[in-house]
Symmetry: C2
Subunit: 223 residues, 2 copies
Amino acid sequence: ACELRQVSMHYPDGDETRAALDAVSLRVAVGEFVAVMGPSGSGKSTLVHVLAGVEPATAGEVAIRGEVLGPQDRRAWIRARRKDIGVVYQRLNLLPTLSALENVALPLELDGFNRRAAASMAAAALADVGLASLAHRRPDHLSGGQQQRVAVARALVGERSLLLADEPSGALDSAAAEDVVRLLADRARAGGAVLMVTHDSRMASWADRIVELRDGRLTGVAA
Amino acid sequence: ACELRQVSMHYPDGDETRAALDAVSLRVAVGEFVAVMGPSGSGKSTLVHVLAGVEPATAGEVAIRGEVLGPQDRRAWIRARRKDIGVVYQRLNLLPTLSALENVALPLELDGFNRRAAASMAAAALADVGLASLAHRRPDHLSGGQQQRVAVARALVGERSLLLADEPSGALDSAAAEDVVRLLADRARAGGAVLMVTHDSRMASWADRIVELRDGRLTGVAA
Ligand SMILES: Nc1ncnc2c1ncn2[C@@H]1O[C@H](COP(=O)(O)OP(=O)(O)OP(=O)(O)O)[C@@H](O)[C@H]1O
Ligand SMILES: Nc1ncnc2c1ncn2[C@@H]1O[C@H](COP(=O)(O)OP(=O)(O)OP(=O)(O)O)[C@@H](O)[C@H]1O
Ligand SMILES: [Mg+2]
Ligand SMILES: [Mg+2]
């Protein structure tokens, strides 16, 4: 599970500061599937980045599986991202020199799985998103939606306890989008904690609970 | 206007070739707004790239404003992209070292407008997509949907006769997406030829005509 307690995130903006997140409190419990919606620029990706520890909160607390991790806990964050957190980034962040299979297998290898086991788990994850036949392609030879599905497979592989998905279906047709949200819902039912940012109300309808961000402030049931 | 006549596009795939486009014929007339839909991987971005001359067709003819432009007509394609074609790329392709305003102004400066005129037109285009206050930000300090709107503004600026938009609303909430499709529809009514790739049937419903790509083949009314 994960929790934000009164988390704020301020960016410098010229000689002012601007709050991308403003005193946000949110909890995603084990087995729960939470959707986060809100206008463009409202702070959704910032919320995901703070939960993944790739951007430091400027106030408040972030807890992963009950452990509070601050901006200075670099090692703990690296370990958490390696073992406990799967992320689909809005910009995907696939490695261009690796094949789809190698991209998906990498987190497992970093987590200690041997190459054969990692490759076999990665192949299964790619099959789950309909990309089995494209395992050996590099990202720049894949369509936008195929790249997005590789990023989804990479987040799902290894059944991490926390799954953060930042708009995982933006480039997908409705059939492929439904496959993705079904996989996320299955993860929650199997005991994961899943947070999905989406603009698509049909995707959000699969969640147990929907919260909204607006100008960095969260509305909806916090826990 | 623009036209594809029996256009094919083959990629090498290991020791085979695969058709991303298969004998596609399509015409977008002056003043017409055409939507292109289809599953992930069906060839939609390839169609846009061939119409913009950034990928060469392997068979068939591409005509921009009545002039047939082949893969070897490099200068003619460069001139067409500078003067006649505005493109929203699926991957956006914004320049990271330039501000939003500079990114939007660049096509105008390349087209011969002086700096002041280009900046003023760019500012108006950013205002049209709700980003007037973010004109001086660089892309990496913008949200995903804000970046997408900068790319839309850049394609709209200068009222080019052909507008190609490859999934221009994938990262936008429904209100911002509606603003974008309204701007595209306005361009067509003002005499542009507009082709929009989308997965969103509500966006597609604004078009005069919807065609579908499936495994590289086009169905629907070709002209
Ligand atoms: N450089 C390449 N080499 C080999 N195959 C490619 C290359 N680029 C694209 N493809 C393949 O061509 C097909 C069409 O790709 P395209 O990007 O046009 O699809 P699309 O309809 O835009 O998909 P999406 O909706 O996911 O963006 C896909 O199956 C893709 O894997
Ligand atoms: N490095 C930065 N410096 C300054 N402002 C930033 C920076 N990164 C993001 N912002 C601003 O913070 C706000 C929130 O950004 P964020 O990316 O979280 O929005 P979002 O809700 O994910 O939007 P979208 O739906 O468009 O992806 C935006 O207004 C954005 O311009
Ligand atoms: Mg975002
Ligand atoms: Mg595409």
